[in-house]
Symmetry: C2
Subunit: 134 residues, 2 copies
DNA sequence: CTTTTTGCAAATCTTTTGCACTCTA
DNA sequence: TAGAGTGCAAAAGATTTGCAAAAAG
């Protein structure tokens, strides 16, 4: 569908370090979060490099990208298949959700709308059990 | 549920001008778009004022707010009740969608997840018929 | 070697803020 | 007249970019 003049991907120390963190993290992290974690882990990587790598990974479909209400981008390694998120507006906790009903509905939209290359994402937010107490 | 220390709303020239544009516009507009339209229409309104008014309207639930992939906020007057959007990744065109299946599913998540104050939003994107030709 | 990737710092861009001043109610 | 709203210009933040130096293949 898309001819993509795919550029080679060079495995640099920085790229590996970033991969490692994404690999071992479940939730979503901002570029800045990732940068902090890299440094805390002893990896010296420029913030601009983090951004540039994330951009490539996102384009290659290797990471999911969502947006905070504040407009900040959050990333995480794509897990298995397609799914959605339940995010706590108070603490940021993210849980995965299965949404068969939504998938079916999206499929129908794709089929009947006359639009092409339909993609969908569902953001469900709320206050998680732990924050209801806190 | 939320006591809201509702502040009074004063109808200023600027507020009215902004209302007028939102009232007569179907699609989503960014704060900057709105600012440009105001000026083209001869209304001198500070960009900061546009942002400030939009923030109030959004908080009051008078406008819908969505986010561009680029992280830019887009607003428009709330139509009818709850609904979702089908946005063209190529030209930005936005259509409204009804999603009864999604509503039902969200309701169930709210009921069974243990989370509170659940809200959801669905972003469906694709290439609109007109862009498929262009 | 050739080309991608880095690292900085400077540059962009959207959105927010501080504050004195101007209006609405 | 009290206090919300306004207009600037400056401040914040996140993300991008320009470019020379470093490193991957």
């Amino acid at each position: 569908m898309t001819p993509e003049p795919t550029a080679p991907v060079r495995m640099t120390r920085q790229r590996r370090a970033l991969d490692a963190i994404l690999e071992t993290t479940d939730g979503f992290l901002s570029a800045q979060d990732l940068h902090v974690r890299l440094r805390s882990g002893g990896d010296r990587v420029a913030l601009a490099t983090v951004y540039s790598q994330l951009a490539k990974m996102a384009e290659a479909g290797e990471v999911d990208q969502i947006r905070t209400e504040a407009g900040e981008a959050l990333y995480r390694r794509c897990r298995s298949e397609h799914h959605h998120h339940l995010r706590c507006r108070s603490c940021g906790l993210v849980e995965e959700l299965d949404a068969p009903a939504v998938e079916a509905w999206a499929g129908e939209v794709a089929r009947t709308s006359g639009w092409d290359e339909i993609a969908h994402s569902v953001e469900v937010t709320g206050i998680c059990p732990s924050c209801q107490r806190g």
